[in-house]
Subunit: 599 residues, 2 copies
């Protein structure tokens, strides 16, 4: 029984067109003036087919086989079918979707690319990381590379002929990049020779493309200590001649692959740089800033990974719950003609399914909302509009990363639980989803790091300005619908939560002035609350859209379903905030002053 | 870097001797009159050595190799070292620890066996399931078998020469055993021939012992339909001659092994019964009741499995957090002589560690408390005392199973998170703990089934009598310490939670009278709250014991550590009840009336 997958096209239309009016917003940006709903829908339909028909069949085999390294040749073999699926991906032009037409891209909005990626992630997260990392490398080079570097690398990354990586982590440093040791020695010709060891490099070596464009953080000889002395380099697996043909093998070698809990199909490489030739990207010592272009897009991408896993976990658990017969409903048989009722009658099974559905559909709204913000931040003509979109996106990025990945782990575990013992065995595919989902809480900055980013930098760092702005947006939207009595059940708890978050923010801000560690004590709880405020707003918008559609006489089972799911969300998931809100009242010393316990 | 493990002997002493006064309680039972603290401690010390030195080294290899089936001979090979460790286990006499001296057992209290098992589970849960299932089979036969069956099987189960299993699940039925189809045909000689298929049989086939004693649920030809027509049979792998020697191979064959998320070292067998000879255990059609003896002990055992995993996850995460250098504390460097601070300075890391510690030590208290209850339920002379202990144990069993396994999954995930990316790779051993911990929420009745058992059967089923009794015990204990001002921080929230649980119980009871599905809607949330009430009481007792020890001038770093951990528990884990309490206020229709959403 492999997992089944039906691309959630109808729900994407609902999110993009009906709730967010994404296409209409994008059309106002000159770059996307010709973009329309039909184009959007046609692309999504093809993308869904590609994900379901070409990529999904590789998922289980990828998990089973993993990648293998030939230590002699430093070459890595990906699982059966990965290479072929990637060739089809390149041939169909998918890598170019949202890339710059100047380098062969199709110039479509980022948000469309994000929908493509959601579906690819549902189909096979490990596989999707290969093009995903490439796109990250593309973004960083596009934003910070010299014209020469762009001309050399971007067309091939755009076409997908070459893939990319981001090489940050070293054995002794993950979060703390200021500790990194890889060295870059300047050469007479303006290039650099890089020496050092990198670990945990996703898609770091493979047989899917003819070249790999590594973006590597390293230190120049005169670099200041710490994070202010880090520079970014492009280090190709094969050197590139001036005519664009491939030259010599650059000594950046895969020396080992990690054996991981999940995402087995992705090669997590240890890389040894043995005097590898690189070129500087951006300014010396400003590598972290350049890399953060990539990191922020990657963080949205990680949230999107968990969204994809949540969706496919939900679809399969729902199908199983309708088929599996076990016990009777407590209120009496619901399928008396059968030897037992389908387990979907049992309230806890429904709770697990509704949770996954609310997380998937809410996550889709959040992901699409941020996709549009990213498009605005890049393509709006007005600088203030760009800056506004950028500020809102900066606030929401750690929420997308941490909230959606926490939800994704909970949802895949809950959907696995629906399968009972059958969920624990490989055959059903559910346990792989949990193992794959687990990494998303860790990489691209652990969820605790996201929480510190949100509370310390994005909220308290600007004196609450961005948060206040976002809160006003929510309040203004609420005011628009305040006279609709049917919206009260959604608007009142949303308003209440907004007020509580404001109070809590002020309280933490005051405490943090006395002791900066208070930020660390509060951050994870704070992000969970902020995530629910964001989700609550989007679910209220979904409910309002559905109520309006019904009032307009539109007959589609999606609308009553949306209202039910919104009600479930407000009644049974939003209350998750009660625990962190209570915890934020506790004294920080219950964590900080525990030296006897943690002796 | 394999996992390290230090048997938590000091904390066991604290739980057993200082908080619970377990030995003194047991001494009052004639069967254990000679049992004393020195004996207890000496056994625990040896048990800890065995777990750490003999069993722990098999854990990682067991995960990597798993079990292999030779389909020709139906034989299963366990991972390297499993058989040898088991031989040492048998030679040292560990299987006999709490068995009946009438069959060669050592007659020690069950609670001591439970401490042994906690340590074995820390060392290797998959391995420990082999003796664990044997002990369950021993208990069921001891309680329900005829004298002849007992004479035949119990001595060899007691010695560990033979192992046991419980064969319940079939492909179409797990929770709903009423659906099972395996048939038992009576023979002229009083035996039965069994035919059918079983799946998910833990320790169902292996090479560790010369015989396997399967306890099998099946239907007699005249059996009523459903769960009232199920009988229990003993079906040995090899028939046993009257002189105790092994006879012919009984046709109960392993036809497949499951590939699972975790516990790879345990053989999860598909068994085909092809006219296998069995003998009836207990009364015809009363098999479920007989099996429930085993199930209830097994449920305590599953909680104990997660306790073991929580402990070892904590120990290793703590060690890593002290060594791993990454970033500076927000309040300024704590290890200025190093390039970065150890990550234990970061509040979220501390939160994860303290959570695991509070769950481990609280779980140890709960497990020991229930172990003593089980000993009382079996060995008290006074029938009322036995019945009282049995009723309290029945109430607490689903809490032990579900609360400790939920905690265990959360704690192993949290401790894995402390390792960052290093927690996601096999090398550190942390991800195995998560995969192993995951099964504990599923088998021996899913945690949702436990919740229904608690709320439907144990609480509402007797009109709240057992719960009220338990609540009085907590209140009486609280009253004893109410005049100690240092206890207020623990007693007040405990009292508050007790009152809220009482209110909630009444409210659900009233709603359930109108609609029985309300029980299913409320059950999982309810168990979580009841679990915290139980944990809160035990943590308050731990704090009281530690405060008293300090007041008595006893100088041991354990005492201030206990007070810190208790404070952390009350400030940051007990507030978990806020969410389910809020959720219980929501209308059941937000789950029940969701047919559009779950279409």
């Amino acid at each position: 029984m492999p997992l089944t997958y039906n691309p959630p096209l109808r729900d994407m239309h609902f999110a993009l067109h009906e709730v967010l009016g994404a296409v209409e917003t994008l059309q106002k940006l000159p770059r996307f003036a010709d973009f329309d709903r039909d184009t959007c829908n046609a692309i999504l339909e093809e993308a869904g087919k590609f994900a379901a028909e070409v990529v999904a069949p590789t998922n289980s085999i990828g998990d089973l086989q993993g990648c293998t390294l030939d230590k002699q040749s430093h070459s890595v073999k990906t699982p059966d079918g990965f290479r072929q699926a990637y060739q089809q991906y390149v041939e169909a032009g998918w890598p170019a979707l949202s890339c710059d037409p100047a380098y062969g891209g199709q110039g479509l909005p980022f948000v469309v690319n994000q929908c493509l990626y959601e579906m690819l992630n549902s189909a096979n997260q490990a596989w999707t990381m290969y093009p995903g990392l490439s796109h990250g490398a593309y973004e960083a080079l596009h934003a910070h590379g010299s014209d020469a570097l762009k001309q050399r690398y971007l067309p091939r990354l755009t076409s997908g002929e070459w893939t990319g990586t981001m090489c940050l982590t070293e054995p002794h440093c993950g979060t703390d990049l200021g500790l990194l040791r890889t060295k870059a020695e300047p050469q007479a010709d303006g290039s650099y020779l890089l020496t050092g060891s990198k670990i945990f490099i996703s898609a770091g070596e493979h047989d899917m493309a003819e070249n790999i464009v590594h973006l590597v953080l390293a230190r120049l000889p005169d670099a200041p200590a710490g994070s202010k002395g880090i520079s970014l380099f492009v280090v190709p697996k094969y050197l590139v001649n001036d005519d664009g043909s491939l030259g010599a093998r650059n000594p950046i070698f895969c020396t080992g692959l990690e054996h991981k809990m999940g995402i087995h199909g992705n090669a997590t490489a240890q890389l040894s740089l043995e005097g590898a030739v690189g070129h500087l990207v951006g300014q010396p010592h400003k590598g972290l800033a350049a890399m953060f272009v990539m990191m922020n897009a990657a963080r949205l991408g990680v949230g999107n990974q968990s969204l994809g896993l949540t969706e496919i976990a939900y679809q399969n658990a729902l199908a199983y719950a309708k088929e599996r017969l076990q016990m009777r409903a407590l209120s009496g048989p619901k399928a008396p003609e059968q030897p037992a009722d389908p387990i979907i009658v049992h309230p806890d099974v429904r709770h697990q399914l509704l949770t996954a559905k609310a997380y998937a559909e809410g996550g889709r709204l959040l992901s699409a909302y941020c996709g549009v913000l990213l498009d605005k931040a890049h393509a709006a003509e007005d600088e203030t509009e760009r800056a506004g979109a950028q500020a809102e996106l900066a606030l929401l990025t750690p929420i997308v990363k941490a909230f959606l990945t926490d939800n994704g782990l909970a949802a895949t575990i809950g959907c696995q639980q629906v399968f009972g013992g059958h969920g624990y065995i490989r055959e059903t595919g559910m346990e792989q989803l949990v193992r794959d989902a687990r990494i998303n809480l860790i990489y691209e900055g652990t969820n605790a790091v996201q929480a510190l980013d949100l509370l310390g930098r994005k909220v308290l760092g600007d004196g609450g300005k961005a948060l206040t702005q976002f809160g006003r947006k929510i309040a203004a939207w609420g005011a628009e619908h305040a006279d609709n009595p049917k919206m009260a059940e959604f608007l009142l708890p949303l308003q209440d939560l907004g007020e509580r978050l404001t109070e809590v923010t002020q309280a933490i801000g005051a405490r943090a002035q006395r002791n900066p560690d208070e930020v660390g004590v509060a951050a994870v709880d704070y992000l969970r609350i902020a995530g629910h405020l964001t989700f609550g707003w989007l679910w209220a918008r979904a409910a309002q859209t559905a109520l309006q559609a019904i009032a307009d006489g539109r007959d589609d089972p999606l609308y009553p379903a949306k209202i039910e799911t919104a009600r479930f969300y407000f009644a049974r998931l939003l209350p998750e905030v009660e625990t962190p809100l209570k915890r934020l009242q506790a004294h920080a010393n219950t964590i900080l002053k525990t030296s006897h316990t943690l002796a």
